[in-house]
Symmetry: C2
Subunit: 295 residues, 2 copies
Protein backbone atom coordinates (compact mmCIF):
# COMPACT_ATOMS: atom_id res chain seq x y z
CA UNK A 1 0.00 0.00 0.00
CA UNK A 2 1.29 3.46 -0.82
CA UNK A 3 -0.30 6.84 -0.97
CA UNK A 4 2.46 8.94 -2.41
CA UNK A 5 2.24 12.66 -3.01
CA UNK A 6 5.00 15.06 -3.85
CA UNK A 7 5.16 17.90 -1.35
CA UNK A 8 7.32 20.98 -1.72
CA UNK A 9 8.14 24.44 -0.50
CA UNK A 10 9.46 27.70 -1.91
CA UNK A 11 12.07 29.56 0.13
CA UNK A 12 12.62 33.06 -1.18
CA UNK A 13 13.73 36.57 -0.36
CA UNK A 14 11.13 39.27 0.27
CA UNK A 15 11.61 42.84 -0.95
CA UNK A 16 9.75 46.14 -0.78
CA UNK A 17 8.15 45.43 -4.17
CA UNK A 18 5.18 43.14 -3.51
CA UNK A 19 4.83 42.12 -7.14
CA UNK A 20 8.41 40.92 -7.10
CA UNK A 21 7.67 38.78 -4.04
CA UNK A 22 4.56 37.27 -5.57
CA UNK A 23 6.51 36.51 -8.72
CA UNK A 24 9.14 34.71 -6.66
CA UNK A 25 6.42 32.63 -4.99
CA UNK A 26 4.75 31.81 -8.31
CA UNK A 27 7.98 30.94 -10.09
CA UNK A 28 8.78 28.49 -7.33
CA UNK A 29 5.30 26.96 -7.42
CA UNK A 30 5.50 26.55 -11.19
CA UNK A 31 8.95 24.95 -11.02
CA UNK A 32 7.73 22.49 -8.40
CA UNK A 33 4.50 21.76 -10.28
CA UNK A 34 6.58 20.85 -13.32
CA UNK A 35 8.39 18.32 -11.10
CA UNK A 36 5.04 16.84 -10.12
CA UNK A 37 4.54 18.51 -6.73
CA UNK A 38 0.93 18.40 -5.54
CA UNK A 39 1.32 20.58 -2.45
CA UNK A 40 3.47 23.72 -2.20
CA UNK A 41 4.07 25.67 1.00
CA UNK A 42 5.13 29.34 0.94
CA UNK A 43 6.93 31.32 3.67
CA UNK A 44 5.04 33.32 6.30
CA UNK A 45 3.77 36.68 5.01
CA UNK A 46 5.61 36.13 1.73
CA UNK A 47 3.94 39.02 -0.07
CA UNK A 48 5.71 41.71 1.97
CA UNK A 49 8.79 42.55 3.94
CA UNK A 50 8.56 41.30 7.51
CA UNK A 51 6.94 44.55 8.69
CA UNK A 52 6.74 43.51 12.36
CA UNK A 53 10.25 44.79 13.05
CA UNK A 54 8.61 48.03 14.16
CA UNK A 55 5.17 49.07 15.37
CA UNK A 56 3.65 51.48 12.85
CA UNK A 57 -0.07 51.91 12.21
CA UNK A 58 0.53 52.49 8.49
CA UNK A 59 1.52 48.87 8.10
CA UNK A 60 -2.07 47.80 8.75
CA UNK A 61 -2.65 49.02 5.18
CA UNK A 62 -0.81 45.87 4.06
CA UNK A 63 -3.64 43.72 5.40
CA UNK A 64 -6.17 42.20 3.03
CA UNK A 65 -9.43 40.27 3.20
CA UNK A 66 -10.00 36.55 2.63
CA UNK A 67 -10.95 36.07 -0.13
CA UNK A 68 -8.96 39.00 -1.46
CA UNK A 69 -6.13 39.89 -3.82
CA UNK A 70 -3.69 37.21 -2.61
CA UNK A 71 -6.15 34.34 -2.48
CA UNK A 72 -7.54 35.28 -5.91
CA UNK A 73 -4.06 35.33 -7.38
CA UNK A 74 -2.94 32.05 -5.86
CA UNK A 75 -6.29 30.39 -6.63
CA UNK A 76 -5.58 30.94 -10.30
CA UNK A 77 -2.12 29.42 -9.97
CA UNK A 78 -3.43 26.46 -7.95
CA UNK A 79 -6.08 25.71 -10.54
CA UNK A 80 -3.78 26.21 -13.50
CA UNK A 81 -1.23 23.76 -12.11
CA UNK A 82 -3.59 21.47 -10.19
CA UNK A 83 -1.57 22.02 -7.04
CA UNK A 84 -2.53 22.74 -3.44
CA UNK A 85 -0.98 26.01 -2.28
CA UNK A 86 -0.46 27.01 1.34
CA UNK A 87 -0.22 30.79 1.28
CA UNK A 88 0.30 33.08 4.27
CA UNK A 89 -1.02 36.60 4.55
CA UNK A 90 -1.86 39.52 6.78
CA UNK A 91 -5.63 39.20 7.17
CA UNK A 92 -7.96 42.16 7.72
CA UNK A 93 -11.03 40.68 9.36
CA UNK A 94 -12.55 44.01 10.29
CA UNK A 95 -11.38 47.39 11.53
CA UNK A 96 -9.25 46.60 14.58
CA UNK A 97 -9.08 42.83 14.06
CA UNK A 98 -6.19 41.57 11.99
CA UNK A 99 -4.71 38.09 11.92
CA UNK A 100 -1.62 36.29 10.69
CA UNK A 101 -3.40 33.72 8.57
CA UNK A 102 -2.45 30.80 6.37
CA UNK A 103 -4.88 29.87 3.62
CA UNK A 104 -4.99 26.47 1.95
CA UNK A 105 -6.12 26.60 -1.67
CA UNK A 106 -7.13 23.30 -3.20
CA UNK A 107 -6.23 22.02 -6.66
CA UNK A 108 -9.53 23.31 -8.03
CA UNK A 109 -8.64 26.85 -6.98
CA UNK A 110 -11.15 26.92 -4.12
CA UNK A 111 -10.20 27.94 -0.59
CA UNK A 112 -10.15 24.68 1.38
CA UNK A 113 -9.75 26.43 4.70
CA UNK A 114 -7.63 28.75 6.75
CA UNK A 115 -5.64 28.76 9.95
CA UNK A 116 -5.15 31.84 12.09
CA UNK A 117 -1.84 31.86 13.96
CA UNK A 118 -2.65 30.94 17.54
CA UNK A 119 0.58 31.78 19.36
CA UNK A 120 1.66 35.37 18.79
CA UNK A 121 5.24 36.33 19.68
CA UNK A 122 6.53 39.63 20.89
CA UNK A 123 10.20 40.24 21.29
CA UNK A 124 12.68 42.78 19.93
CA UNK A 125 12.32 42.78 16.14
CA UNK A 126 9.18 40.62 16.18
CA UNK A 127 6.47 42.93 17.49
CA UNK A 128 3.62 40.72 16.37
CA UNK A 129 1.31 41.31 19.32
CA UNK A 130 0.82 44.84 17.98
CA UNK A 131 -0.42 43.59 14.61
CA UNK A 132 -2.05 40.21 15.07
CA UNK A 133 -5.07 39.22 17.13
CA UNK A 134 -4.45 35.65 18.35
CA UNK A 135 -6.24 33.09 16.22
CA UNK A 136 -9.68 31.84 17.21
CA UNK A 137 -10.05 28.84 14.90
CA UNK A 138 -8.05 26.43 17.06
CA UNK A 139 -5.77 23.72 15.71
CA UNK A 140 -8.07 22.32 13.06
CA UNK A 141 -6.44 20.53 10.12
CA UNK A 142 -7.79 21.56 6.75
CA UNK A 143 -9.48 18.94 4.62
CA UNK A 144 -8.30 18.96 1.01
CA UNK A 145 -8.61 16.69 -2.00
CA UNK A 146 -5.24 15.18 -1.04
CA UNK A 147 -5.63 14.71 2.71
CA UNK A 148 -5.91 16.71 5.90
CA UNK A 149 -3.26 19.36 6.27
CA UNK A 150 -2.30 20.51 9.75
CA UNK A 151 -1.29 24.15 9.41
CA UNK A 152 0.70 26.08 11.99
CA UNK A 153 2.48 29.41 11.61
CA UNK A 154 5.95 30.37 12.87
CA UNK A 155 5.86 30.90 16.67
CA UNK A 156 3.42 27.97 16.88
CA UNK A 157 6.35 25.78 15.87
CA UNK A 158 7.80 26.01 19.38
CA UNK A 159 4.68 24.49 20.97
CA UNK A 160 4.37 20.70 21.13
CA UNK A 161 0.71 21.21 22.04
CA UNK A 162 -0.01 22.77 18.64
CA UNK A 163 1.48 19.84 16.72
CA UNK A 164 -0.16 17.28 19.01
CA UNK A 165 -3.63 18.83 18.68
CA UNK A 166 -3.28 18.96 14.90
CA UNK A 167 -2.35 15.28 14.86
CA UNK A 168 -5.14 14.30 17.23
CA UNK A 169 -7.55 16.08 14.91
CA UNK A 170 -6.39 13.87 12.05
CA UNK A 171 -3.68 15.82 10.23
CA UNK A 172 -1.89 13.70 7.62
CA UNK A 173 1.07 16.05 7.64
CA UNK A 174 2.03 19.42 9.13
CA UNK A 175 3.02 22.55 7.24
CA UNK A 176 4.56 25.61 8.89
CA UNK A 177 5.09 28.89 7.02
CA UNK A 178 7.59 30.86 9.08
CA UNK A 179 9.76 33.99 9.14
CA UNK A 180 12.63 33.58 11.54
CA UNK A 181 16.20 34.74 11.52
CA UNK A 182 19.23 35.88 13.37
CA UNK A 183 19.98 39.05 15.19
CA UNK A 184 23.27 39.90 13.44
CA UNK A 185 24.61 41.15 16.79
CA UNK A 186 24.39 37.69 18.35
CA UNK A 187 27.51 35.54 18.43
CA UNK A 188 27.94 32.90 15.76
CA UNK A 189 27.60 30.29 18.52
CA UNK A 190 24.26 31.67 19.72
CA UNK A 191 23.04 31.94 16.13
CA UNK A 192 23.78 28.30 15.48
CA UNK A 193 22.13 27.19 18.75
CA UNK A 194 18.99 29.06 17.72
CA UNK A 195 18.82 27.65 14.21
CA UNK A 196 19.52 24.15 15.43
CA UNK A 197 16.86 24.42 18.15
CA UNK A 198 14.38 25.55 15.50
CA UNK A 199 15.13 22.52 13.33
CA UNK A 200 15.22 20.13 16.29
CA UNK A 201 11.88 21.05 17.82
CA UNK A 202 10.06 20.79 14.50
CA UNK A 203 11.63 17.40 13.73
CA UNK A 204 10.45 16.39 17.20
CA UNK A 205 6.84 17.26 16.25
CA UNK A 206 7.12 14.82 13.35
CA UNK A 207 8.54 12.16 15.69
CA UNK A 208 6.06 12.65 18.53
CA UNK A 209 3.13 12.48 16.16
CA UNK A 210 4.31 10.10 13.46
CA UNK A 211 3.70 12.39 10.50
CA UNK A 212 5.72 14.36 7.92
CA UNK A 213 6.37 18.06 8.39
CA UNK A 214 7.14 20.88 5.96
CA UNK A 215 8.65 24.06 7.37
CA UNK A 216 9.07 27.00 4.98
CA UNK A 217 11.13 30.03 5.97
CA UNK A 218 12.20 33.11 4.02
CA UNK A 219 15.84 34.03 3.48
CA UNK A 220 17.71 37.31 2.99
CA UNK A 221 18.46 40.30 5.19
CA UNK A 222 15.77 42.85 6.02
CA UNK A 223 16.52 46.18 7.67
CA UNK A 224 14.73 47.52 10.70
CA UNK A 225 13.41 50.80 9.29
CA UNK A 226 13.22 52.25 12.80
CA UNK A 227 16.95 51.68 13.26
CA UNK A 228 16.23 50.25 16.71
CA UNK A 229 17.74 46.84 15.97
CA UNK A 230 20.34 45.69 13.41
CA UNK A 231 17.57 44.03 11.37
CA UNK A 232 17.01 40.34 10.75
CA UNK A 233 19.10 37.91 8.75
CA UNK A 234 16.46 35.29 7.93
CA UNK A 235 18.09 31.89 8.23
CA UNK A 236 16.30 29.99 5.47
CA UNK A 237 16.97 26.28 6.21
CA UNK A 238 13.44 25.35 5.14
CA UNK A 239 13.05 21.59 5.26
CA UNK A 240 10.83 18.59 4.78
CA UNK A 241 10.97 15.82 7.40
CA UNK A 242 9.47 12.33 7.39
CA UNK A 243 7.40 10.77 10.20
CA UNK A 244 10.50 9.64 12.09
CA UNK A 245 11.80 13.20 12.04
CA UNK A 246 14.35 12.36 9.37
CA UNK A 247 15.23 15.29 7.12
CA UNK A 248 14.35 14.45 3.52
CA UNK A 249 15.32 17.75 1.87
CA UNK A 250 16.57 21.10 3.08
CA UNK A 251 17.38 24.54 1.63
CA UNK A 252 20.56 26.43 2.53
CA UNK A 253 20.49 29.33 4.99
CA UNK A 254 21.23 32.06 2.48
CA UNK A 255 19.84 31.07 -0.92
CA UNK A 256 16.41 30.86 -2.45
CA UNK A 257 15.22 27.38 -3.28
CA UNK A 258 12.25 25.30 -4.39
CA UNK A 259 12.40 21.74 -3.13
CA UNK A 260 9.98 18.83 -3.14
CA UNK A 261 10.01 15.18 -2.12
CA UNK A 262 7.73 12.21 -2.51
CA UNK A 263 5.93 11.43 0.73
CA UNK A 264 4.11 8.16 1.31
CA UNK A 265 1.27 9.13 3.62
CA UNK A 266 0.56 5.48 4.37
CA UNK A 267 3.95 5.31 6.07
CA UNK A 268 2.48 7.32 8.96
CA UNK A 269 0.51 4.27 9.97
CA UNK A 270 3.51 1.96 9.65
CA UNK A 271 5.59 4.27 11.84
CA UNK A 272 2.80 4.53 14.39
CA UNK A 273 2.72 0.74 14.57
CA UNK A 274 6.40 0.46 15.52
CA UNK A 275 6.21 3.60 17.67
CA UNK A 276 2.72 3.39 19.19
CA UNK A 277 2.91 6.59 21.22
CA UNK A 278 -0.74 7.45 20.70
CA UNK A 279 -1.84 4.17 22.28
CA UNK A 280 -0.13 4.95 25.58
CA UNK A 281 -0.84 8.63 26.15
CA UNK A 282 -1.76 9.17 29.83
CA UNK A 283 -4.78 11.34 29.12
CA UNK A 284 -5.89 10.79 32.72
CA UNK A 285 -2.81 12.69 33.89
CA UNK A 286 -2.52 15.56 31.40
CA UNK A 287 -4.97 18.02 32.96
CA UNK A 288 -2.18 20.38 34.02
CA UNK A 289 -1.46 21.17 30.36
CA UNK A 290 -4.33 23.66 30.34
CA UNK A 291 -2.83 25.59 33.24
CA UNK A 292 -0.51 28.56 32.90
CA UNK A 293 1.72 27.17 35.66
CA UNK A 294 1.14 24.56 38.33
CA UNK A 295 1.96 26.62 41.41
CA UNK B 1 24.04 35.64 38.96
CA UNK B 2 24.91 32.00 38.59
CA UNK B 3 23.71 28.84 40.25
CA UNK B 4 26.12 26.27 38.92
CA UNK B 5 25.98 22.58 39.73
CA UNK B 6 27.82 19.75 38.09
CA UNK B 7 25.45 17.11 36.76
CA UNK B 8 26.50 13.74 35.42
CA UNK B 9 25.45 10.30 34.33
CA UNK B 10 26.89 6.79 34.27
CA UNK B 11 26.36 4.74 31.12
CA UNK B 12 27.26 1.11 31.67
CA UNK B 13 26.70 -2.46 30.57
CA UNK B 14 24.37 -4.70 32.56
CA UNK B 15 25.14 -8.38 33.11
CA UNK B 16 23.53 -11.36 34.80
CA UNK B 17 25.53 -10.68 37.96
CA UNK B 18 23.68 -7.97 39.89
CA UNK B 19 26.63 -7.19 42.13
CA UNK B 20 28.74 -6.50 39.05
CA UNK B 21 26.09 -4.07 37.79
CA UNK B 22 25.87 -2.24 41.10
CA UNK B 23 29.65 -1.99 41.19
CA UNK B 24 29.64 -0.45 37.71
CA UNK B 25 27.08 2.13 38.87
CA UNK B 26 29.02 2.90 42.06
CA UNK B 27 32.37 3.17 40.31
CA UNK B 28 30.85 5.70 37.92
CA UNK B 29 29.26 7.69 40.74
CA UNK B 30 32.55 7.78 42.64
CA UNK B 31 34.50 8.87 39.59
CA UNK B 32 32.03 11.69 38.95
CA UNK B 33 31.92 12.71 42.61
CA UNK B 34 35.70 13.09 42.51
CA UNK B 35 35.22 15.50 39.61
CA UNK B 36 32.78 17.51 41.71
CA UNK B 37 29.48 16.20 40.34
CA UNK B 38 26.54 16.89 42.66
CA UNK B 39 23.89 14.93 40.77
CA UNK B 40 24.42 11.55 39.10
CA UNK B 41 21.83 9.78 36.95
CA UNK B 42 21.93 6.01 36.39
CA UNK B 43 20.37 3.99 33.53
CA UNK B 44 16.91 2.49 33.78
CA UNK B 45 16.79 -0.77 35.81
CA UNK B 46 20.58 -0.71 36.05
CA UNK B 47 20.76 -3.49 38.67
CA UNK B 48 19.66 -6.22 36.27
CA UNK B 49 19.59 -7.33 32.69
CA UNK B 50 16.69 -5.81 30.79
CA UNK B 51 14.36 -8.69 31.71
CA UNK B 52 11.37 -7.36 29.74
CA UNK B 53 12.55 -9.07 26.55
CA UNK B 54 10.28 -11.95 27.54
CA UNK B 55 7.25 -12.39 29.78
CA UNK B 56 8.15 -14.73 32.62
CA UNK B 57 6.58 -14.70 36.08
CA UNK B 58 9.89 -15.62 37.72
CA UNK B 59 11.28 -12.21 36.84
CA UNK B 60 8.94 -10.62 39.35
CA UNK B 61 11.39 -12.01 41.92
CA UNK B 62 13.76 -9.25 40.79
CA UNK B 63 11.42 -6.61 42.22
CA UNK B 64 12.22 -4.93 45.52
CA UNK B 65 10.58 -2.56 47.95
CA UNK B 66 11.25 1.13 48.47
CA UNK B 67 13.05 1.54 50.75
CA UNK B 68 14.85 -1.72 50.08
CA UNK B 69 18.22 -3.18 49.13
CA UNK B 70 18.93 -0.79 46.24
CA UNK B 71 17.89 2.40 47.98
CA UNK B 72 19.84 1.39 51.12
CA UNK B 73 22.95 0.76 49.08
CA UNK B 74 22.75 3.95 47.05
CA UNK B 75 21.80 6.00 50.11
CA UNK B 76 25.14 5.08 51.63
CA UNK B 77 26.96 6.12 48.48
CA UNK B 78 25.00 9.35 48.21
CA UNK B 79 25.78 10.30 51.78
CA UNK B 80 29.43 9.24 51.58
CA UNK B 81 30.02 11.40 48.51
CA UNK B 82 27.46 14.14 49.21
CA UNK B 83 25.90 13.57 45.84
CA UNK B 84 22.30 13.27 44.66
CA UNK B 85 21.72 9.90 42.97
CA UNK B 86 18.88 9.12 40.61
CA UNK B 87 18.52 5.35 40.71
CA UNK B 88 16.01 3.25 38.80
CA UNK B 89 14.56 -0.02 39.98
CA UNK B 90 11.84 -2.62 39.66
CA UNK B 91 9.51 -1.75 42.53
CA UNK B 92 7.38 -4.29 44.36
CA UNK B 93 4.56 -2.28 45.86
CA UNK B 94 2.48 -5.29 46.86
CA UNK B 95 1.62 -8.69 45.45
CA UNK B 96 0.39 -7.99 41.92
CA UNK B 97 1.43 -4.33 41.79
CA UNK B 98 4.90 -3.66 40.48
CA UNK B 99 6.26 -0.42 39.03
CA UNK B 100 9.21 0.83 37.02
CA UNK B 101 10.35 3.46 39.49
CA UNK B 102 13.11 6.04 39.71
CA UNK B 103 14.18 7.10 43.19
CA UNK B 104 15.98 10.33 43.96
CA UNK B 105 18.32 10.09 46.93
CA UNK B 106 19.51 13.37 48.36
CA UNK B 107 23.05 14.25 49.46
CA UNK B 108 22.20 13.33 53.05
CA UNK B 109 21.31 9.80 51.99
CA UNK B 110 17.57 10.30 52.48
CA UNK B 111 15.03 9.43 49.80
CA UNK B 112 13.89 12.78 48.41
CA UNK B 113 11.11 11.25 46.35
CA UNK B 114 10.26 8.83 43.64
CA UNK B 115 8.69 8.77 40.20
CA UNK B 116 6.76 5.82 38.84
CA UNK B 117 7.02 5.47 35.05
CA UNK B 118 3.75 6.77 33.65
CA UNK B 119 3.90 5.63 30.02
CA UNK B 120 4.45 1.88 29.72
CA UNK B 121 5.55 0.49 26.34
CA UNK B 122 4.77 -2.86 24.85
CA UNK B 123 6.35 -3.95 21.63
CA UNK B 124 8.47 -6.91 20.55
CA UNK B 125 11.40 -7.14 22.96
CA UNK B 126 9.96 -4.57 25.36
CA UNK B 127 7.05 -6.36 27.05
CA UNK B 128 6.75 -3.86 29.85
CA UNK B 129 2.98 -3.90 30.17
CA UNK B 130 3.33 -7.41 31.59
CA UNK B 131 5.61 -6.25 34.40
CA UNK B 132 4.80 -2.65 35.24
CA UNK B 133 1.59 -1.09 36.48
CA UNK B 134 1.42 2.43 35.02
CA UNK B 135 2.58 5.07 37.50
CA UNK B 136 0.06 6.85 39.70
CA UNK B 137 2.19 9.68 41.07
CA UNK B 138 1.83 11.95 38.04
CA UNK B 139 4.57 14.21 36.71
CA UNK B 140 5.71 15.71 39.98
CA UNK B 141 9.28 17.02 40.14
CA UNK B 142 11.18 15.94 43.22
CA UNK B 143 12.39 18.59 45.62
CA UNK B 144 16.02 18.14 46.65
CA UNK B 145 18.64 20.19 48.41
CA UNK B 146 19.91 21.30 44.99
CA UNK B 147 16.67 22.09 43.17
CA UNK B 148 13.60 20.41 41.78
CA UNK B 149 14.37 17.43 39.58
CA UNK B 150 11.85 16.44 36.93
CA UNK B 151 12.16 12.67 36.57
CA UNK B 152 10.84 10.67 33.62
CA UNK B 153 11.67 7.11 32.62
CA UNK B 154 12.40 5.77 29.11
CA UNK B 155 9.13 5.53 27.10
CA UNK B 156 8.03 8.80 28.78
CA UNK B 157 10.78 10.46 26.76
CA UNK B 158 8.63 10.31 23.61
CA UNK B 159 5.82 12.35 25.20
CA UNK B 160 6.07 16.16 25.08
CA UNK B 161 3.24 16.24 27.63
CA UNK B 162 5.45 14.56 30.24
CA UNK B 163 8.24 17.08 29.86
CA UNK B 164 5.83 20.01 29.76
CA UNK B 165 3.98 18.95 32.90
CA UNK B 166 7.28 18.49 34.74
CA UNK B 167 8.34 21.98 33.71
CA UNK B 168 4.98 23.53 34.61
CA UNK B 169 5.35 21.93 38.05
CA UNK B 170 8.65 23.73 38.51
CA UNK B 171 11.36 21.29 37.44
CA UNK B 172 14.79 22.94 37.27
CA UNK B 173 16.06 20.19 35.00
CA UNK B 174 14.88 16.85 33.63
CA UNK B 175 16.54 13.47 34.10
CA UNK B 176 15.59 10.37 32.13
CA UNK B 177 16.94 6.91 32.99
CA UNK B 178 16.35 4.77 29.92
CA UNK B 179 17.03 1.38 28.33
CA UNK B 180 16.68 1.54 24.57
CA UNK B 181 18.49 -0.09 21.74
CA UNK B 182 18.47 -1.52 18.28
CA UNK B 183 16.91 -4.62 16.90
CA UNK B 184 20.05 -6.05 15.22
CA UNK B 185 17.82 -7.22 12.34
CA UNK B 186 16.89 -3.66 11.39
CA UNK B 187 18.83 -1.96 8.60
CA UNK B 188 21.63 0.41 9.53
CA UNK B 189 19.54 3.24 8.08
CA UNK B 190 16.54 2.41 10.26
CA UNK B 191 18.78 2.06 13.31
CA UNK B 192 20.24 5.51 12.77
CA UNK B 193 16.80 7.06 12.23
CA UNK B 194 15.67 5.59 15.55
CA UNK B 195 18.68 6.73 17.53
CA UNK B 196 18.54 10.19 16.00
CA UNK B 197 14.82 10.50 16.71
CA UNK B 198 15.49 9.53 20.33
CA UNK B 199 18.12 12.26 20.68
CA UNK B 200 16.06 14.82 18.78
CA UNK B 201 12.85 14.51 20.75
CA UNK B 202 14.64 14.77 24.09
CA UNK B 203 16.60 17.83 22.97
CA UNK B 204 13.23 19.26 21.94
CA UNK B 205 11.92 18.84 25.50
CA UNK B 206 14.82 20.99 26.71
CA UNK B 207 14.04 23.59 24.03
CA UNK B 208 10.26 23.68 24.53
CA UNK B 209 10.65 24.08 28.26
CA UNK B 210 13.86 26.06 28.62
CA UNK B 211 15.66 23.66 30.93
CA UNK B 212 18.60 21.23 30.87
CA UNK B 213 18.04 17.53 30.34
CA UNK B 214 20.08 14.44 31.28
CA UNK B 215 19.30 11.19 29.48
CA UNK B 216 21.08 8.06 30.70
CA UNK B 217 20.95 4.84 28.69
CA UNK B 218 22.72 1.51 29.11
CA UNK B 219 25.03 0.05 26.47
CA UNK B 220 25.99 -3.50 25.44
CA UNK B 221 24.16 -6.39 23.82
CA UNK B 222 21.65 -8.46 25.78
CA UNK B 223 20.23 -11.73 24.50
CA UNK B 224 16.56 -12.59 24.39
CA UNK B 225 16.55 -15.76 26.50
CA UNK B 226 13.34 -16.88 24.81
CA UNK B 227 15.08 -16.83 21.44
CA UNK B 228 12.04 -15.06 20.00
CA UNK B 229 13.96 -11.95 18.90
CA UNK B 230 17.65 -11.38 18.10
CA UNK B 231 18.04 -9.49 21.40
CA UNK B 232 18.77 -5.81 21.93
CA UNK B 233 21.89 -3.84 21.14
CA UNK B 234 21.51 -0.96 23.58
CA UNK B 235 22.63 2.19 21.80
CA UNK B 236 24.20 4.13 24.68
CA UNK B 237 24.46 7.75 23.44
CA UNK B 238 23.56 9.08 26.88
CA UNK B 239 23.76 12.85 26.85
CA UNK B 240 23.38 16.10 28.71
CA UNK B 241 21.69 19.01 26.93
CA UNK B 242 21.38 22.67 27.90
CA UNK B 243 18.16 24.72 27.94
CA UNK B 244 18.44 25.54 24.24
CA UNK B 245 18.67 21.83 23.45
CA UNK B 246 22.40 22.09 22.78
CA UNK B 247 24.31 18.90 23.54
CA UNK B 248 26.93 19.59 26.20
CA UNK B 249 28.35 16.08 26.57
CA UNK B 250 27.56 12.67 25.12
CA UNK B 251 28.72 9.07 25.53
CA UNK B 252 29.44 6.82 22.54
CA UNK B 253 26.97 4.14 21.43
CA UNK B 254 29.08 1.15 22.43
CA UNK B 255 31.25 2.09 25.39
CA UNK B 256 30.69 2.65 29.08
CA UNK B 257 31.19 6.20 30.26
CA UNK B 258 30.80 8.58 33.18
CA UNK B 259 30.34 12.18 32.07
CA UNK B 260 29.44 15.39 33.87
CA UNK B 261 29.11 19.06 33.00
CA UNK B 262 28.60 22.28 34.88
CA UNK B 263 25.06 23.55 34.49
CA UNK B 264 24.05 27.08 35.42
CA UNK B 265 20.45 26.69 36.54
CA UNK B 266 19.98 30.45 36.43
CA UNK B 267 20.45 30.26 32.66
CA UNK B 268 16.97 28.70 32.42
CA UNK B 269 15.49 32.06 33.25
CA UNK B 270 17.72 33.90 30.78
CA UNK B 271 16.73 31.49 28.01
CA UNK B 272 13.06 31.81 28.90
CA UNK B 273 13.40 35.60 28.58
CA UNK B 274 14.66 35.42 25.00
CA UNK B 275 12.34 32.49 24.17
CA UNK B 276 9.22 33.33 26.21
CA UNK B 277 7.17 30.29 25.17
CA UNK B 278 5.50 29.91 28.53
CA UNK B 279 4.06 33.43 28.30
CA UNK B 280 2.16 32.68 25.11
CA UNK B 281 0.77 29.19 25.65
CA UNK B 282 -2.85 29.08 24.41
CA UNK B 283 -4.21 27.30 27.45
CA UNK B 284 -7.72 28.26 26.32
CA UNK B 285 -7.26 26.04 23.26
CA UNK B 286 -5.45 22.97 24.64
CA UNK B 287 -8.43 21.02 25.98
CA UNK B 288 -8.13 18.36 23.26
CA UNK B 289 -4.81 17.22 24.76
CA UNK B 290 -6.71 15.16 27.35
CA UNK B 291 -8.57 13.27 24.63
CA UNK B 292 -7.45 9.96 23.12
CA UNK B 293 -8.31 11.24 19.64
CA UNK B 294 -10.47 14.11 18.42
CA UNK B 295 -12.86 12.19 16.18
Amino acid sequence: MANIIKIGLVQHVCAEDQEQNISASIQGIEALARQGAKVVVLPELHRTLYFCQTEETRFFDLAETIPGPSTTRFSEIAKAHQVIIVTSLFERRTAGIYHNTAVVIDTNGEIAGMYRKMHIPDDPGYYEKFYFTPGDLGFAPIKTSLGKIGVLVCWDQWYPEAARLSALAGADFLVIPTAIGWNPDDTEEEQQRQREAWITIQRAHAIANGLPLVSCNRTGVEKDTSGQTPGIKFWGSSFIAGPQGEILAQCPTDKTGAIAVNIDLDRNEQVRRIWPYFRDRRIDAYKGIVKRYCD
